[in-house]
Structures are given as structure tokens and as C-alpha cells.
Symmetry: C2
Subunit: 209 residues, 2 copies
């Protein structure tokens, strides 16, 4: 959106704040919310904590986001968009290489945003319908990439059965990365990424034709 | 426990009820709770609904189970025990055959207890710590089987890295079965079971040594 951002969570000075339009200001607050979500759960991401970090009043935050539920949804949607953008496969390379790059970005994203990612997974699984929908949309976007075809072919041939298999692979990837963060079992980041990427063709190979 | 059970959810006659000890009566009520959980979520499994199905007073149910949370935990623990028992691999056959039999029982269990299973998965993922613990214990018991060694060998060699891989496989199995129930994508029950079982060695083959 062309909004100038700082990586610090310090309050903006009044001078820099006044240059932003309401829309830009809202975008900036969303970015701050996503950054806070990296190290805390969704439950811990309160309007109060964001107001304090942003150095503005609670009342102004409610003006931008309505209520806590709307605020959480907006932050999670932004986080999901970030995940999709950051894990975009490169244009270069054959399908297997592009999958490897994408998996590396996924691992790095979950490591960097562990608490927020975990709480999204739990909120989605735990019955919050809107968060589940955001989660499912993000997963569909991520999964859909392995079926994308170009002149170098696809990672996975697109059939109903392989669509099912990729859903399973995706659940496995999520579990493996979250478990690996808890306890790496001696696997390096590179070994984990290699495992995630090579598991897909291994799985597709046993899907009934 | 040697308790005589009926597959019907009709109230017991007063005559049959009086022969049971309090412990037997509690076991019988737990079995009824598990049966009800097959077709409804945990949220829908109220003390009231169980009292009505069992033909006894709410007060008596509170006497057996304390409160709703304790009641839910007891029912879910029983359901998890049932799952572990019903999916026990046979003594006969080589490791791959035994895995196939166990996977078939798992698929049949989830199909027969769909609503309750789904709500357990969601409750465990969604942050109920006690239900998460019951779920994790059940999963550990199920996963542990693939490492069990006998004179015909193991399904999977037991290393830290394969332990991690089996966690991922197990998440994949759960996702595949639940997704297949929603939409079978043209896969028969037998093809699904074959996919679940053959995915394990396929995955283990790509685990770094």
C-alpha cells in the first residue's frame, strides 16, 4: 500500500502520524497487529495492547476496527495474506525446485510468527467460523499452487484423488513444522524443508490412479 | 467391564436397572454417552440429553459425573479407549498387513463416530487442555504401535526423525479420513485404507537418515 513502516513497535511521532490518511493509518495498525501476533496468541492480542504499542487511544482503535472480533479477523486476514505472499514460489526453476523454495519460506514464516500461527490454527480448528474460513482460504491458496501448470509442468497432476492427497500432505506439513519447532529431533532446517518437499511426490506416488 | 449393554438407546427398564452396582451403572451411562456422541458434537451432548435417553433424572446424572465438564471428559476418555481398542492390530500377519488391518478399523471407527470424533479433534485443537491431553494420549498410543517390534520386525524403525515423521503421517491420516467422509473424490473405502497404509513407508523413505 506504499505506507511507510518501521520495524520498531515504538509509537509514531505526532509529526509522522498526521501525514497518513485514515486508510493508511488502518493499514499501519494492522501491520502492527500482525507483528504483535508473532509473539503472542490471538487471545492475548487485545485492543488495549495494540493501543499501547501504537501510542493511540482505545477509542480511536475502536473507530478503525469496530470491535475486538472484527479487529482479530482483520489482523488474521492480513497475516494470512502475508503468509501467501511470502511463500509465493519463484518463477525460475523446475516444479520441484520451486516447491522447495516455497516450503523454505513456509517454515521460516511459521518460525517467525509461531504464537500467532499456532493460535490461528487452534482458533480455526476450535470452532470460530470466520477464522476457520480465513484459514481454509489460505490453505486452499497454498495447496492450489502445487497444481499450477506452466511450460515446465506441474508438481502434482490435478485429479480428485490428488486433491485429497494434497489436503493430507498439507495437514502433515503443518504438524511437522509445529512439532519441529517444539523439538527438532536433530533435524536441521534444511533437512526439514527437504522432508516436507519430498514427501509430496512420495505421497502422490501411492495415490490410486 | 462385563456390563450387559444394549445397542438401543431406549431407557432401561426399572427391573434391569436395579441389578447394577453404582460403578456398573456409571459405566453403562458412559457407553450411552459415547453412542450419543457418534451423531452429535460434544457441545450438543448435554446432561439433559443423556438423562432423557437413559430415562433417569438429571440429579442422578450429576451424582455420577459431577458437572458437565467432568461428564464430557469421562465420555471422551471412554471414546478414546474404544478407538484404541477397536484399532488394535492383529497378532497375525507381517507388519504391513497388520498396519492395513489397523487402518481399516480406524477408518470404520471415524465413519461410525463421525460427529463425536470431529468435535474431539476440534475441542483438542481449540484449547480445552484436558481434552487436548486425552487426544494426545490416544494419538501417542496409536502412533506408538508402528514402532512396536516383534520377531517379524517393525513397520517403522524407531529414531527421533521417524517419530517426527509419524506425527506428521498421523495428522495426514486424520485429515484424509475426515475429508474423504465429506467428499470421497471417487475413492473407495479400500482405496483410502490402502493409501493411508502405504503413505507411511513412502514417507519414512524420504526421512533424512
Amino acid at each position: 500500500m506504499g505506507v511507510s513502516q518501521t520495524t520498531s513497535s515504538a509509537p509514531q511521532s505526532p509529526g509522522s502520524r498526521t501525514r497518513l490518511s485514515p486508510e493508511q493509518r488502518r493499514e499501519q495498525l494492522l501491520d502492527l497487529g500482525v507483528r504483535l501476533l508473532a509473539t503472542r496468541s490471538l487471545d492475548e492480542l487485545s485492543i488495549d495492547s495494540l493501543a499501547e504499542e501504537a501510542g493511540i487511544s482505545r477509542g480511536l482503535l475502536y473507530h478503525y476496527f469496530g470491535n475486538k472480533q472484527d479487529f482479530h479477523e482483520a489482523v488474521v486476514r492480513r497475516a494470512a495474506d502475508d503468509l501467501i505472499a511470502q511463500t509465493a514460489p519463484p518463477d525460475e526453476g523446475d516444479p520441484a525446485e520451486r516447491l522447495l523454495v516455497s516450503m523454505a519460506a513456509y517454515v521460516d514464516y511459521v518460525v517467525a510468527n509461531h504464537q500467532g500461527y499456532l493460535s490461528l490454527v487452534r482458533a480455526a480448528a476450535g470452532g470460530n467460523e470466520t477464522l476457520r474460513q480465513i484459514y481454509e482460504e489460505a490453505r486452499s491458496a497454498l495447496n492450489g499452487r502445487v497444481f499450477r501448470e506452466d511450460d515446465r509442468g506441474t508438481v502434482v497432476p490435478d485429479t480428485p484423488a490428488t486433491r485429497l492427497a494434497v489436503r493430507g500432505w498439507s495437514a502433515m506439513v503443518e504438524e511437522l513444522v509445529l512439532s519441529w519447532i517444539d523439538d527438532d529431533r536433530g533435524l536441521t532446517r534444511e533437512q526439514l524443508i527437504e522432508l516436507l518437499a519430498s514427501a509430496l511426490p512420495a505421497l502422490v506416488a501411492v495415490v490410486p490412479a
